[in-house]
């Protein structure tokens, strides 16, 4: 197993680490038993994600994907952030070892969970079909 230079870069000095006290949306996915939890905080203005921070408990790929995924949605409209796939995050990191792909799924889910929380907190109508998956059903992804 070998990590790309990009992964090690983002792991060594992750971007957007921290919390946002007055976040508009917070999403937490994963579980301690499986060894990774990702918590995403977003600030939203006029449908644009103006700020994003994360806290992650997990391996190097979990931390690196958190860092990369938050970079990729910062300053973007929500509609675009919702389209972010784990595949795109993995590609941006120049790949992940096969056994680590599940970690990248968490980043995508954490973003979706934060956006969903934003919609609900602010009473915004949203297309529920975008969030059909149970974000916290982490075992499901392990079984893939």
């Amino acid at each position: 197993m070998e990590y790309s230079e990009k992964v090690m870069e983002h792991f060594a000095t992750p971007h957007n680490v921290g919390k946002i006290d007055d976040a508009d949306g917070v999403g937490e996915v994963g579980n301690a038993k499986c060894g990774d939890i990702m918590k995403m905080y977003i600030k939203v203005e006029n449908d644009i994600i103006t700020d994003v921070k994360f806290n992650t408990y997990g391996c190097a790929s979990a931390i690196a994907t958190s860092s990369m995924a938050t970079d990729m949605i910062k300053g973007k409209p929500i509609s675009e952030a919702l389209k972010l796939t784990n595949k795109a995050v993995v590609e941006a990191l120049d790949g992940l070892p096969a056994v680590k792909i599940h970690c990248s799924v968490l980043a995508e889910e954490a973003i979706k969970a934060a956006i969903k929380d934003y919609y609900e907190k602010h009473g915004i109508e949203y297309d529920k079909s975008l969030f059909v998956e149970d974000c916290c059903n982490y075992e499901h992804h392990h079984a893939e």
């Binding site: 992750p14 301690a32 060894g35 918590k39 806290n55 408990y57 997990g58 391996c59 190097a60 979990a62």
Partner: protein, 394 residues
């Protein structure tokens, strides 16, 4: 500073071992089975290596068989005994829950293929098998007891002499995977009633790709590797004389320095344990006293082991972890689960394994490095935040 602290994974080849190997990698390249001089020189090399290995564990030379390593030795011992005893209708094997996978996967295979019944003895919170449990588990159809000498992850030393005595009294064959113990602890197969013992050269500063199985005289298990007449016809394959010579030289050297290196490593180990346990919410895994002189295994709550060891690597420290992410599976180490750790505590484990070359300066450097890394990981850990909240610290 560069600190290699993963000696349970593998060790650096010693100069003595390399010097012993070089002739067989260069001029003395003959096949040990050939009758002409250069072959006979190689043959003498094999003979001398076998005698040295036998002497260290108090066996006879004709009881030591070279293998490709510890895994082959374990496979051969267990599959061999199972096949031999199945003919007598004995298909029950007793082992422990935290054996190396070379043992666990092998007994699992025997269960699937031949319907062997496996009893996995508990190892309790201290990581030590209880001899009484072995005694109680032995049945009329028990073919084999296989219990490791010392655990590879948490370093706990098993009551091998007691288990040996029980097995001998009950007439059951006793095998021990002593890969982590040979060259690190005094071993006497006769006094300890050990029938079969696996060892691996690269765990005591010998070369990789070579190990040995001790089989007590009189036990006639079938071959694992069929072919030529090497190793008294019991393990085929042209002898890797250079590897055997290196293994023997390394083992001899380790054995000669055994007492002093045990003393030195125990002191370093204790210093490291004491230093790391000062970190909040940490725990030592495995018995504090009955453990290998060089083994430290500590869990830190709220952090994940792979991240911890990769940040340590950036500081120049080589270590390992029992987290799922380092085991390449979804579950953390079976050893840590076997001693009752919760998954999330097992994920946060750090194993540091020392050798006699480590210095106090290196130990102090590790003690310096770890707290800031733990602090950094905890500061970004939602799990740690949750733990703190549960404890009312936030």
């Amino acid at each position: 500073m560069k600190v290699y602290a993963d000696n349970a994974a593998t060790t650096k080849l010693s100069k003595t071992a390399l010097d012993a190997m070089m002739p067989y990698l260069t001029d003395t390249f003959g096949n040990a089975s050939s009758l002409y001089d250069i072959g006979q020189q190689a043959h003498r090399g094999v003979k001398a290596a076998r005698e040295t290995v036998a002497e260290v564990i108090n066996a006879r030379a004709d009881e030591v068989y070279f293998t490709s390593g510890g895994s082959e030795a374990d496979n051969w011992a267990i599959k061999g005994v199972a096949e031999m005893m199945a003919k007598k209708g004995k298909k029950h094997i007793i082992t422990s829950a935290f054996e190396h996978h070379a043992v666990l996967h092998t007994v699992k295979r025997l269960e699937e293929l031949f319907g062997c019944e496996i009893t996995y003895l508990p190892v309790y919170e201290n990581g030590i098998v209880r001899p009484d449990d072995v005694k109680n588990a032995i049945r009329d159809d028990t073919a084999l007891v296989t219990i490791m000498y010392a655990n590879n992850e948490i370093g706990t030393i098993q009551p091998i002499s007691e288990i040996g005595a029980i097995c001998r009294e009950k007439g059951v064959i006793f095998h021990t995977d002593a890969v982590q113990a040979v060259g690190h602890l005094p071993i006497d197969v006769k006094a300890q009633n050990i029938d079969m013992l696996s060892m691996s050269s690269h765990k005591f500063h010998g070369p990789k790709g070579i190990g040995a199985l001790y089989i007590r005289k009189g036990i006639r298990i079938p071959n694992l590797i069929e072919g030529g007449a090497q190793e008294s016809g019991r393990r085929a394959g042209t002898e890797a004389v250079y590897a055997m010579a290196g293994m023997a030289a390394a083992l001899k050297e380790a054995n000669e320095n055994l007492e002093s290196s045990m003393k030195k490593m125990t002191a370093l180990r204790n210093r490291l344990i004491d230093g790391l346990l000062k970190i909040e919410s940490s725990r030592l895994n495995g018995d504090r006293e009955n453990r290998l002189p060089g083994n430290v295994n500590i869990s830190f709550e709220g952090v994940e082991g792979e991240s911890l060891l990769l940040y340590l690597d950036m500081k120049g420290v080589s270590a390992s972890s029992g987290s799922a992410c380092t085991s390449g599976s979804l579950d953390p180490s079976h050893v840590l689960l076997a001693i009752g750790l919760k998954h999330e505590v097992a994920h946060g484990s750090l194993r540091l394994t020392l050798c006699e070359d480590n210095t106090q300066e290196e130990i102090d450097y590790i003690i310096d490095c770890v707290p800031e890394i733990i602090e950094r990981l905890r500061s970004m850990s939602p799990l740690w935040e949750r733990i703190q909240k549960e404890r009312g610290n936030v």
